[in-house]
Amino acid sequence: MRYAETGYNLEIDLTRKNIEKVATDPRDTELYLGGLGTSAKVLWDRVTPEIKPFSEENLLIFSAGLLCGTPAVGCNRTIVSTISPQTELMAYSMMGGFFAPELKYAGYDKVIIRGKSKKLVYLWIHNDKVEIRDASHLKGKGTVETAELIKKEINDPKAHVAAIGLAGENKVYYASVEQGRSSASRGGIGAVMGDKGLKAIVVRGKKDINIARPGEYIELCDEVLNYIKFREENPIQGVPPILAGLGSPQEMKIHDEKWHTENFTWGNARERRKDFWTEEVAAKWSESMDKVQTRLLSCYNCPMQCGASINVPGISTYMMKCYSKLTYTMAAFSDLDFGFKIVQRATEYGVDGFTTPQVMAFALELYEAGILTDKDMPGMPSDSEGRFYWLLDKIVNREGIGDILANGTYWAAKKIGNGAQAYAHNNIKKHEQLPLKLGMLHPLYFVMYCTGEKMNITQIEGNFPQSPFATQEDKEAFVKDWFQVPDDKFKQYLLDWEMRGEKSIPNYPTPQMTSEIVDWQERMHYIDDSLGMCAGLSSFPLKPPYHMHNYPKFISAATGMDMDEDKLTQAARRNRTLIRAFNIRRGMSRKDEKPPEDHWRKRFPELEKELLDTYYAFRGWNEDGVPTKEYLHELDMDYVSQDLEQRGLLK
């Protein structure tokens, strides 16, 4: 018997309409854990660099994490991976909700999709029965609408549906996959799903998930639950409310948006409004929230309630999570009433809540600058809100200028020319970033922005505070019960870190310390993404319930494998390195590893070079950012170095 995992993948060939249930190799679990790790291995083995995002051979993998479906609190992530049409590198995006546990209960760890269907279809997985069904009647339907229609059609209200909307069908490069209160949004995964002619995957399962050492396991779960309760009663002191608690950023509970609205930029990642949050705004925004929120919602087996159902009079109900509440509002210089309304349409269309508003704000800047003209924008309304709706419709339908904008700011700017490139200023590796523009270079964030394979800072940063505490007392109070640190030296780094002077950014933490801290944060993310754990209870917040010390115990008790901190660290580094090698093989190199030029006002070329050099060396990579032969050998990945050598990428 396999424990925690089911030991089976579903292989679906949409061209041949072939369905196969394939047993997996338990040794892969030991090496790569599961979820993102084992998916990356499949992609490495089967998706060679010649394969384009929209090739038949490109794979689209929906994977549950290793511990999804077990009693581990908050372990419910579906990791979706493929080649991104936008970056042409690996895209992986995690969605919460209910899909992954349901897939496990149906008896599968992954659904691996290849080929393309000529007609629009959906996949219906119920235990051993798997069907490819006609979806032509769902063409053009919204994601929420599609889920409702399918559940009626199969007569199973307990099924979970991951669907694309019109954006995915039309291969918008930032189309998402939506699933109830969650979505896999980054990297244009929905476009690949649309290209494959797959409207939705529907899953319902009624089988057991087994635990190897149940007594031990449930005790660990109880500890996590208790710690969550403890943290609810004891928020972290000395940080803004958004950083004080656990969970995904508590956007549905927190009414005080001073931090986001004044620190993040508005419009096309341009303007900081440092005095925005007045009492008047606070009152109005609170009212907007209370008016439309009907209920706070959690993902499977998690008490944190990070999502909410949103009910704006006159438009249909949808579920919101996290930060999309503000992205449209701020890109359009508007207010929350507008934000809540437009997200409903964006959710039905299925588009990424970070990239989409930025693309629209970018288009409006080009229009103000005269690079796009009335000829490009026929019939566009004159008010900001109206323009956002107009642009959204054009993009999703790939109509007129929308067809160009649908490829994201990088590709659109290239196509538009005429100086447009300067307006696509907030990208890393062709991918739109959080709208943040800051003063002084931050060494940790510099390294994470440059080198993160996820190309999305919220999926890289985490357990180490973003900035030093103001007073020695605050620092000491913070490190006192900071048992999550993998090594006590991190406490000292924090204690010594100052707001000003010698031991402040950009020179402190030093490049060596920076490498160590980034390594810790990355490790946590790669473990989460392999286990299927929500980052909101682990790699993302300060002092999380899951950490390097209890994770090995969780994995051992659940799977029966013999895991310890060193082995787990190796596995995380293996996964990190495999994805790096995959991207290197697809042409990524050191020259791509840079933050948006205007991310920090104060830059330090020499220090930046030293930071990258140090991190690369620490990581076991050469100065081009390619994993070395020795390091790959240490990680049992000689097959990777052989491949890279053959391709002349490693000497």
């Binding site: 209200p157 209160r181 089988k207 057991d208 499977y300 109900t317």
Partner: protein, 177 residues
Amino acid sequence: MKKVKTIKVDIDKCNGCRACEMICSAFHATPKYSSNNPEKSKIRVLFDPIKDIYVPVYAGGYTEAECNGWDIYTIDGKEYDECAFCRASCPSRDLFTDPDSGLPLQCDMCLDDPPQDEPLCVKWCHADALTYEEREEEGEEAKKKPDEMEVGLQSLVKNHGAKKVMESLAKLKQEKD
């Protein structure tokens, strides 16, 4: 005096996390917590997110007859069909039927030796949608509830007759030996 155990359900507080389903099925696995499967849980959350309907319902055991008709209740402007609140494992739906054995499920208040402080579903419901109450009442201590196997066998006997069930059991045993 007898002890009355009650679980109060506040559907306004339910966030739809289904931790209650998960933990009930894990607690009742043999050995305890060795597996979990919400389909085997004795509490199910009936949900319809778009209508904002979340109803945790406890399994009340087997009933032979299905209803002749269903009523619709409107509460707070939301329409619930009567089935939404019904605890029965009945022939008209697959709710509260063990997917492996086909036997009906019934909540046993986490009967355990030594007794748990509170039922497991209550313990794992951090939203306080489920709360537990114990009070003393005049009257005899209720006689011990039949265990799961007995409940299941009773329903088989009702459906197929005692003789048929005995024969089948004997046959199974022979095959096993």
